[in-house]
Symmetry: C2
Subunit: 376 residues, 2 copies
């Protein structure tokens, strides 16, 4: 993947960032994008956090891939996150591969590509980096922070760390702590990448190689977990790729096989394998329980943030049960929280899709609370 850096907006942070691992990034770059206009009072900002495979190009056209932004369903003029009203900021996460400092970038100390010399980063590190971006933009308090999946984890982490920097928060299809099954899927993905000889112990960019097969298999595993059994059955069932009979070979017979292979191959063109290792690891390490001595509600103690928690009925990666644990924790400290479970067949992927009830919930929550925020 070659990125035209001219198409990417960045800031360089020239103060050291202390990472959770104990290591320090002396200076680093945040690549980001904004949508809509920041008003005079700087009180219409919404920080959107992206998920594992996302980037800063949340809506409009992604200038690198030429395709729609990953959250074009939700963000835009008159959409759920209305860019006529709000100023939406989205930054590539630390460890990502769309311009923010990560394994694909040059280590300023060695002038070499980081590769796996890049230090492990956590969800907390990602959030800390993005708060520096808010500082840079002069935004003291966002109206809201929003994100699904890994983006939702960043929402929770942000609210836990910065209790006065957002008025509201929308954590979607996420968890306060990666489960054993979540870790298992990610480990499968990492093993697939690292088993590919082209991975070259993480040095493939220096040696001009690319673990395409490994990353593609990792992505296939991801896609299986993003879709529900019901959704897969409805979308593909046992329909054959070619009309007529089975091929009696190992080529793709079934449409679901072609779909997965296509998704795997397409991903390799726009994502970096080491970045996939780093981001999945960050998700596995995420554990707001551990951070709070086992008591999740402590993460949100004294929070004045207004929460809208959203889950999807057939999401088996981050189940409704996980959202309910967050709901219970928030309720137990008297937080202002509403909760919606959207009934859908589309599994975890729902947050990226045109799910009317979901988008209506987001829009309703944002638009109905905005005047209250401005009055404060």
């Amino acid at each position: 993947m070659i990125i035209d850096k001219n198409k990417i907006k960045t800031i360089t942070i020239n103060k050291p960032l202390k990472l959770e691992s104990g290591q320090t990034l002396d200076n680093f770059v945040i690549a980001y994008e904004t949508f809509g206009t920041l008003n005079k009072n700087k009180d219409n900002a919404i920080l959107a956090f992206h998920a594992l495979s996302g980037d800063q190009f949340a809506t409009g056209t992604n200038p690198i891939t030429g395709k729609d932004g990953w959250w074009v369903t939700a963000i835009g003029a008159n959409k759920a996150v209305d860019t006529n009203k709000y100023f939406v900021i989205c930054a590539n996460v630390l460890g990502g591969c769309m311009g923010t400092t990560g394994p694909t970038e040059i280590n300023p100390n060695t002038k070499e590509i980081y590769g796996t010399d890049f230090p492990l980063v956590t969800i907390k590190d990602m959030v800390n980096a993005q708060v520096l971006l808010l500082d840079h933009l002069g935004i003291e308090k966002t109206y809201s922070v929003i994100g699904g999946s890994m983006g939702g984890m960043q929402v929770l982490q942000f609210c836990s760390l910065f209790k006065n920097r957002t008025y509201s928060a929308i954590p979607i299809a996420c968890t306060a702590s990666h489960s054993a099954q979540n870790i298992a899927f990610n480990e499968l993905a990492r093993q697939a990448i690292m088993a590919d000889p082209e991975w070259d112990s993480g040095n493939y960019l220096k040696s001009k190689r690319n673990p395409r097969n490994g990353l593609s298999i990792a992505r296939m595993a991801g896609h299986i977990s993003y879709l529900s059994e019901e959704g897969l059955q409805a979308k593909f069932g046992r329909r054959l790729q070619e009309k007529g009979a089975l091929k009696f070979s190992f080529d793709a017979d079934f449409q679901v096989e072609s779909y997965l292979k296509y998704q795997g191959n397409a991903f390799v063109d726009r994502f970096d394998a080491n970045s996939y290792l780093y981001l999945t690891r960050a998700m596995d390490y995420f554990d707001l329980y551990r951070e709070n001595n086992g008591v999740l509600s402590n993460a949100f103690k004294n929070s004045k943030t207004k929460f809208c928690l959203i889950s999807f009925s057939t999401d088996w990666l981050y189940t409704t049960a996980e959202s309910k644990k967050i709901l219970i924790a928030l309720n137990s400290i008297g937080a202002d929280v509403s909760f919606v479970e959207i009934i859908t067949n589309n599994g975890h992927d729902s947050f990226l899709l045109d799910e009317p009830e979901f988008l209506k919930s987001v829009k309703g929550f944002l638009d109905s609370n905005y005047e209250n925020f401005k009055k404060n």
Copy 2:
């Protein structure tokens, strides 16, 4: 994997077997094992079908691996399938890698190892081969046929094809048709194997290579699907491999990671990668609906077989809902069928474990009906 053929009991079938693909196996070998004693009337035989990773060594000690047989929990003296009473037969399936003709064996026509020149086989082909073994043993009618997972598919296929060759049948944790999600998991596994350069287009045995990494990743994917989310959480949760802190590396931090890697690596020592391709393909092709023009009940029309269907509450690979579809089909043609859903945390793996209620159900069904069978 090197198999000492002296430790394996085989028969050679010298008549051609017409496969579903249209190809023919001119002559082939069935490796099998028996447990208990066939009585004079030859009416105490139970045919046990193995699952994807199994073989003919269902109980006792597997002489090749030195470990317990895969169904030692269920088969043995005084156990659920009581070898004091019954004569249990278990054969390695066609396409397997424990002595039955499959990709690891020599093609009698070319004198070379088959590899991926072996024709694709189906569940129906496997069952047809095993019926020839029954013929060889002089067993006209078994008292029962039993199996879980791919073994359960063979039970269903056997009952559909041979309506007078078994008195009873116990299909466990299976489906009448592989779902899109089932196919997706298997395709992920196959892609992992075929992406390994050591696979060598299927010729690794000839070239003295071995796609260890690919097969190991395939097995990891399998294990994720065999365990339930609840079971994984109870067994591993987020417990760390080493006491104390996270390592901030890509080594195994969590016990669930080590478990999966261990399972993957251990499997490679006892299983063949091409065989894994063939057997997963056979499962994907299994579709009793298609075979019966979309009407599952037609598969069992005029069946006098007494069925005991068993599913496990947390099995998300072959769900209780799938078993209920079979139950409905059997009921709709007035078949003699009972159904048990075992409540357990152990997911699909339950059928291999010491699950008391499950084993009691099997034992009760077998022992209470045996006298009726003998009276007939």
